[in-house]
Structure formats: C-alpha cells, structure tokens
Symmetry: C2
Subunit: 204 residues, 2 copies
C-alpha cells in the first residue's frame, strides 16, 4: 500500500500526508530523502532542496569549431540529485507501505500502482493556512505570499514535467483530488483514510 | 444539503448521483427537468435535451443600415430553455435536500454553497463502462465511442462555459474529484457519502 500526495503550496498537502500516515499506520516519507542526499554529497539540505526544485539545468554546447560543434554530456547537478532522489524513493517504497509527499513520486512509483492524491484549495484558504501555520511567511504581505505560492507551484509543475507525460495538477494523474478549503484537515482525515482503505480492497 | 455531480461521459457520474441519493436519502434530480420543460413547451424530450446540449445560438445582427446597424435581442430557443432549466433547478433546490447531475448546477446553485463533485475516469475504464451499461453504444466501434465521448464532453464544456467563470472539469470548481477507474461505484459509495456528511459538519 503506497500513497503519493501532490499538493498546491498552502493547501495542507503535507498535513494530509502526515495525518494519513498516522491514521493508516504507514511510514511517512518527506524530508529524510533530502537529508540522505545532503549527507551523501556533503551539501546543506537547503541547497539540495533548492537545486532539486529549480529543475534540470539544460545542457549547453561547451565547444564550438568552425564547421562543427560538440555537446559534452555532463549531467547537471540537479539531474544527478534528481536521479538519486528517484532511486531513494524506489528503495523506500520497496521496504514497505509508505506515504510520500511531492517529488513526482506518483510518476517515479508508477509501476507500484500507488493511490495518488492531489490536494488543493482556493486562494483565500491557502493564504489563511499559510498565515496560521507558516511562521516564515509572517513578514510577507498577502501579495508577496501569493507570488511565492505561484512560484513554488510552478517549480513543482516544472519538476513534474521532466518525468510525467501529463501536466502536474491535471486530475487525470490522480485517484482523488481533495479541495481542503473551508475545513480543518484533522476533522476529515478519517473519511479520506476510509476511502483509500476501501479503494485498495475493491479495485480490480 | 445540496450535492451537484459533474462528470465525464462514461465515468459513471449518473450512477454516483443515484447511489448517493439512496445512501443519503436525498431527492435525485436529473431527467425530470427535461420532462417538465418538454411538457411546458409541447416538445419531445430528446429535442429539449439536444437543444440544451448544443448551447446558446449566438445572436446575430438582423438589420444593417448604411451608417448604423441594429441587434435584435430575441433570445434563441436554447437560451430560453436554458433559462427555464435554471429556474427549475433553483425551485427544486429550494424544496429541500437534493442531488443534481450535470446542467451546470454547481454554478446555477452557487449561492446555496453545494457540495460539488466531479467524476472522471481513464479512457479504457470509460469505454468498458459504456460497453457494459450503455446498450445504445453497442453498435459503435471503440473509435466511434471515443469520438462520441469527446463530443458529449465538449458539449458539456461549452454549456458550462456560458455560465461558469472557469472551465468545466477544472478541479478548482469542485470540492472532490473522484477517479472511478478500476472499481465498481457501488463498492465505494458509502465512503464517498461519509466524506460528504462529514464535510457538511466540519466546514467553516
């Protein structure tokens, strides 16, 4: 039983993942992937996260001749880290039931046939949730926070586009899309968990 | 408690609506709107359905002068029927709890704050469901059936676009988007009903 959670920034997707993991007694996987990659490469975790979220740096020609030119196929740092991230995700999934938030895990783990969730919400709910739960956003105005949301979501979309064949957030990629506007996630997590349990039993 | 169900052709949205109505002991509204309009206008039900699904015929200028022209504001038949459909939907919603399938009811009943579902599925599941449940599709090849699906869905999208501000099927319009691929709706309807019951209790 593997669950992947994709989510819009501020919609509470991480909370959905964590609470589902509690509710279903499953391993919750998120930050530890970054920690492992950071340790392996002797990098700061924030740099790993930043490098991954910016996507693969395009390869550029490194030498031009008069009549020919040559591409040097050195994988960029971000595609190296990305490949490592995929291997780690697959290793963790092999170990047993788990919930993975973000990281295009629904595509990476496609052949495990995971239950794929997308979490989203309307703008005002996302702003309100960020204000309440994200102390780092305190200094931002609503307008700045909205811009940050858009930036993070488009980074996620870009990362996803490197591996998926359909766009990030396109509902056809997911088994259930949950709009978390106007309620507290803790109040409805049991019902989401029941749906997933049932899905695993009844699907053909 | 009002529930609207939008759906892709072949995804089983109507079945979701009917079964939810049973499960939640709510009034199920679908064909009776067409029947009422047909009776009122002395038209065949199929013609009403067809006229509505083709959308509003655009108004065209009926008279040109040398230096000015004039639009004659005669509502087309489809926009007249559509307006009547909206009034009927609102009247039915006022009578009490109900589930309405299709007809842009989520937009028409926006101020009732309904629980808005979108039902979808992957192509092979939709083909399989049509083959199993739709005897009228028996004579069609897979290719023809797929074309019919696309046509019906684009008619729905066009009708929706006349009233909604965001596209039909855009997940932001809905509270829950349910992918019905790979299972029988009857096997999971209780879990969907539980989610909705809970949503009505906990939302702010």
């Amino acid at each position: 039983m593997i669950i992947t959670v994709s989510r819009e920034f501020g919609s509470g997707g991480r909370e959905v993942g964590k609470r589902l993991a509690d509710e279903l007694s499953m391993n919750y996987i998120d930050r530890e992937i970054i920690t492992t990659i950071a340790n392996e490469n002797n990098m700061h975790e924030d740099v790993v996260e930043e490098t991954l979220s910016k996507g693969v740096i395009p390869q550029i020609p490194v030498h031009f001749g008069r009549t020919f030119y040559q591409y040097q196929p050195i994988p960029s740092l971000s595609s190296q880290l990305s490949a490592r991230q995929h291997t780690l995700i697959r290793e963790l999934a092999q170990k047993g039931d788990c919930i993975i938030v973000g990281r295009a895990a629904d595509v990476v783990l496609e052949d495990y046939d995971p239950f794929r969730i997308f979490v989203y919400a309307d703008l005002s709910s996302k702003l309100e949730r960020c204000r309440r739960l994200g102390p780092e956003e305190e200094a931002l105005s609503d307008h700045e926070l909205e811009r940050k949301m858009k930036r993070v979501d488009s980074e996620r979309a870009r990362y996803y586009a490197l591996y998926g064949s359909t766009p990030w957030g396109d509902k056809s990629n997911y088994d259930l899309c949950i709009n978390t506007s106007q309620y507290e996630i803790k109040d409805i997590i049991e019902e989401i968990a029941d749906y997933i349990r049932r899905w695993y039993i009844v699907r053909k």
